[in-house]
């Protein structure tokens, strides 16, 4: 297995574990502390469910995009390896910030702090991703055979700057309202699922160039 394939497999493993660990953020109401019906207690857990679904979609999208980037890579060097490790570190933090947001979403004062932290980690993830992508894009020797370096470079804005701008916006939203911030993250996730990704991101274009040079 080449270094690239092995890095991709390791990253896939970390992403698969991080996305699955999100379930640990859903806590079963304690049987002894249950006041009223279980149905009502579960209904009160809506911030946990909303955060869970949102973070699940986000990590799922990171996986899809991570894969798209590695399709372009033919060779990996130490810097790229380190940038990828940084990206993974931010993704692995998501189950924690998801738990934080779920716990404080309906708290008075802490809600905005939690939302800012949640958004900041997403922003850091987006920046790491952009950094990895920009680094690769500027080193044609790392690209896979047949991948057009010009197309890859041209796609930096579309592929990474948009995400960074969106997540920066969520940090601002978080300062005003935590629930609105969660909604914004959910909307961004849906947007990525249906719109940008489907209409063909630049990565896919570059891949196509490779397949039909």
């Amino acid at each position: 297995m080449s270094d690239t394939k092995r890095t991709e497999a390791f990253s896939d493993g970390v992403l698969a574990i991080a996305i699955t660990l999100l379930v640990l953020d859903l806590s079963v109401p304690s049987r002894n502390d249950l006041h009223g019906s279980l149905a009502r207690a579960l209904a009160r857990e809506w911030p946990a469910y909303g955060s869970y679904v949102t973070s699940f979609l986000i990590i799922g999208i990171i996986w899809v995009n991570h894969h798209a980037v590695f399709e372009l890579i033919g060779r990996i060097d130490r810097i790229a390896l380190f940038l990828n490790l940084l990206l993974l570190m931010t993704v692995v933090t998501i189950p924690y910030t998801t738990h934080l947001l779920a716990t404080y979403l309906t708290a008075g004062s802490g809600a905005r702090t939690a939302a800012v932290v949640y958004s900041a980690v997403m922003l850091a993830m987006s920046c790491s991703f952009a950094g990895l992508y920009a680094y690769i894009a500027h080193r044609p020797e790392l690209l896979a055979e047949g991948v057009d370096p010009v197309a890859v470079r041209a796609s930096i804005v579309r592929f990474s700057a948009v995400g960074t701008a969106l997540y920066l916006a969520t940090v601002v939203v978080a300062i005003f309202s935590a629930p609105l911030c969660l909604l914004a993250h959910f909307a961004i996730a849906l947007y990525y699922c249906f719109s940008q990704i489907r209409s063909g991101p630049s990565a896919a274009d570059a891949r196509q160039n490779r397949q039909e040079p």
Copy 2:
């Protein structure tokens, strides 16, 4: 690695982690709160053991069926990717609903609520699975070479509608009795293990068609 193979590997990872995280639902009785013998305390944990074994079998069967479906797929598109992500989201939720059912199975009022939630997540899983299967079945261009589209389409009822109907029935059972509902899930799991799967689901037929066209 093709998109299909990588999606399958990622899904396998998530399924393997979800099935293993079930062990976290088994809690060791606190040494300080132990009234009476440990053997008796462990015996009182039977709802946890029953839920654990049942959910383990169910996720195991999902893995087998997921594999059978991906045997039919030659190419994956964004919608299928998203439907697969939805399916994984429901499966990842199972350790949580298992814990919920185990905690409340012997509670007076909460038991039925917990059983309804457990069954509802299984129903959602079954629907996602049916959705993914139906989507693939109606797009011959996504099928692997030699797979007979007519056989695949003909098998939708057998392969996905039956499961959905069975899990819908467990929701109804849950309204009457939580322990009976767990028993029903266990029975369905055994049925899938021995009967339907062994006698050759349509997916296997279609695969056979592919191998001997």
Copy 3:
């Protein structure tokens, strides 16, 4: 990927997760409840360390043996798949029984119960393994090309009955003394690491037959 390879990959994933989840059995002493020095509090945790190391070795050995068996398999059927799932279920339970043993090893009355449960799960694991091996051994059509069915069948006793007998003995030891039982498990693990496995189990013999027919 063939069914056999994919089953092996899934099993590897489950084994890797189960072995890693053992770390969750090591608990950090609460800072508020700390009476005396941290060093002393950690020293009191020796049952947890001992159980951790022992279970880690055991799951590691299961992985090695599981691999050896799958080397012999060329094709897998539903029964073998189900027997393999049973084996995985017992392995996934090990982090729980390890935690149970660690918690109660120094308790007065609960210690033997915990040791019996720990040993019983190991016995169940050993029986599942023996069942899987015996099933494969008696179906020459499932063996890989060049594997000698007679050699495989002849090795059932060496490869599976010995383990089952050893773990049955630990159940008996558990009734008398929990620490002695843990020591017995540790000794068995070391024995498997150095003696039986190194001197060439029958599975390796059969593999050799395959490579040099």
Copy 4:
């Protein structure tokens, strides 16, 4: 899949899970026990963040180095398998020692004990790694084709003794100051990320020899 590839895949799985489980060391402040603002409560968690980032980098580096060593290996025997299992056991312990260090870093008396334990496990990891490397280096029959046994043996000091010496030094630092010890670990991790690894470790040299014999 050969034994070597499968051992590498299993090790990758364990490393990926261990690195991801680090997130469980980050605990969300309890909403009921929150005195003052959430921001302040989170700021007080800096030992957890520092330990998390440091351990994440360390496990990431272990992964890179583990990969470099397995590049050199063509065949694996039982002793190497067992040494690798020992190495994995120390790595799997890291999420626990990370949690321990994070909990006690700002405690009066326990801090140094926690730092010694953290450093001792890193030292044990480094020794296992050195042991595995030295074992392989002295058995030319285990090396991959084209790998120069002399170059591999010559690199033992650079590749494993340096790390062992560095981690031994952290044990000494731990006796004086826990925060300084964490800083030392972070500095070592950065050093490995940027300096030693980039300037080409001996393993890479030996690999080059293999590719251009």
